[in-house]
Point group: C2
Chain length 326, copies 2
């Protein structure tokens, strides 16, 4: 019997999950839940849109609810709330607040006998797994995470908030020399500036002061001040034609030693993604399958990708996994 999945929130990530659930033969997408007027939301696959208020009281017939809200304000409230009613999966990525988020979800989910998997996606998520496996196999080594080349939505939004900016797209780009040193196992000390550069494509409003906009971008604390940033002013047409996608990716590179002679080993996990939200949605979907199975077996409480045996992500039987993937 298919695992019944619901999606709460229908932005880029919600659509990414919709696409992934639709491709998974053992999952059934029951509905998209929205806080907007359902009549105003049209799904890509035609799956029904329902009011989020229907989720109250746990009345909906769902095996897992995938929460596609933002980490800043949505998920800290949403995930504990819905983990008391449904098995849930979220992509909470505010690193410093993971411990308190985990604790809140754990309490709610345990009381309700539900499973709440948090901080899923590719980073946190698959990249975290790569760090954990590497540190466990080669203790005492060093991990590096490089992001890009890819669009950072947070940085693009930050540029859009500057006066005189109509639209913008920001690419995070790893510094090739840094990547090369890390891949060679040199374990360099790298500053923020030495690891990534930032490329901005900006559409200025008519008559806006471009020099001032460029200066504001390059000196913006946290977002750009610590990086070598380049700013390109382009037309709205060019932005639409050349920068419509949301590609992303990156690498976790770990190097460590073994033995008395200190033999070196380098482990790299690399992603190259045409669509960040569709890939992230695919990861959430695989973990939704795992959460449903864990729940059927009586599991409860908050979990992360670290707690899930890999076989739980697959619809394939243990026999077939051993025969074809081992």
């Amino acid at each position: 019997m298919a695992v019944k999945v619901g999606i709460l929130g229908y932005g880029n990530l919600g659509r990414g999950v919709e696409a992934a659930v639709t491709r998974a033969e053992d999952l059934e997408l029951v509905a998209v839940y929205s806080r907007r007027d359902p009549a105003s939301v049209k799904t890509v696959t035609g799956v029904p849109v329902k009011s989020a208020s229907l989720l109250e009281g746990g009345a909906e017939d769902l095996d897992v609810l995938i929460l596609c809200g933002g980490s800043a304000t949505d998920l800290p409230e949403m995930t504990p709330k819905y983990a008391a009613l449904y098995n849930v999966v979220d992509s909470f990525d505010t690193h410093a607040r993971i411990p308190e988020h985990f604790a809140a979800v754990d309490e709610a989910a345990k009381k309700a006998g539900k499973v709440g998997l948090i901080s899923c996606g590719w980073d946190p998520g698959l990249f975290s797994l790569s760090r954990l496996y590497a540190h466990s196999v080669l203790p005492g080594g060093k991990d590096y995470t490089f992001w890009g080349r890819g669009v950072s939505q947070g940085h693009s939004d930050a540029i859009r908030r500057i006066e005189g900016v109509e639209d913008a797209r920001q690419y995070t780009v790893p510094v090739p020399e840094a990547l090369e040193k890390v891949r060679a196992g040199e374990n360099p000390e790298l500053t923020t500036r030495q690891k990534h550069t930032r490329e901005c494509y900006v559409v200025a409003k008519e008559g806006a002061d471009k020099a001032r906009i460029e200066e504001e971008i390059k000196t913006m604390p946290n977002y750009f001040a610590d990086y070598d940033t380049t700013v390109h002013f382009i037309s709205a047409q060019e932005l639409k034609e050349q920068h419509a996608g949301l590609p992303h990716g990156g690498s976790v590179i770990y190097s460590g030693e073994t033995g008395t002679e200190g033999k070196k080993h380098v482990i790299e996990y690399r992603l190259q993604l045409d669509s960040n939200p569709e890939f992230t949605g695919s990861v959430l979907t695989a973990y939704a399958r795992a959460v449903a199975r864990l729940s059927r077996e009586g599991g409860a409480g908050a979990k992360t990708v670290f707690d899930i045996a890999p076989a739980y992500l697959s619809p394939v039987s243990g026999e077939e996994l051993r025969a074809h993937f081992l």
Copy 2:
């Protein structure tokens, strides 16, 4: 309290495990067990060597026994035998026989209430995990495994069995153009010959017919006939100086699509290893920790890397893992 580990078999892999257990603060290497006369075996770290016969009847005080025998003849007998007495980990890598090996270990381990983890290492092992995660996240894609550049001990041995050969080292080398196409997400159809080449460094005995040796290597069925093979004759001195190590590595590359437009995604897991046996030993050691924990929790039966939640590999607590690796 430290997890008590024993090693059965003291070849390259046994020494690799010894090195890894010694570096792990939460593990204690109790003894190396050997079928040879213990007095004739000297360990790198000075850990005691005992006769393998002491393992009979389950009398040794071990939390996990790591089996460092060969897949051809040792492990098919060893692993079920010792899984009836101890928690065990092996590196069984004869792909076609994994199902029957799993069944035999499962029966023995379940009867005894022990855990037997089979087919651990990097391939099968970490590479298998990479295949499973990728297929689960992006169903319907295609995986490619490239090995090398690295020394294949099986192929080196095959050359050594040729008349007139004193010593030999064989490197498996991925074809750069094939790697490039796969990394670009082109999903090419590749023959055996198109994926890897084989480089052989051979020390001929005095007066041996080198042309005949080269011909015998290049036409050897299964090992070389399906590959573009190059043969270099070198001196024993050069072999010792240039080819003493056992480096290896490779990549699992997966590409798949999402969404209605078929957005492409490429996932690569790459290893670059100065010492194949020391890295493999490190993987077995991390899984020995997991097996000990699973056993304490009441687990029993045969397992593979697919069945082990990643957190079990680490000595670090769940809180710390979430705070530092997620």
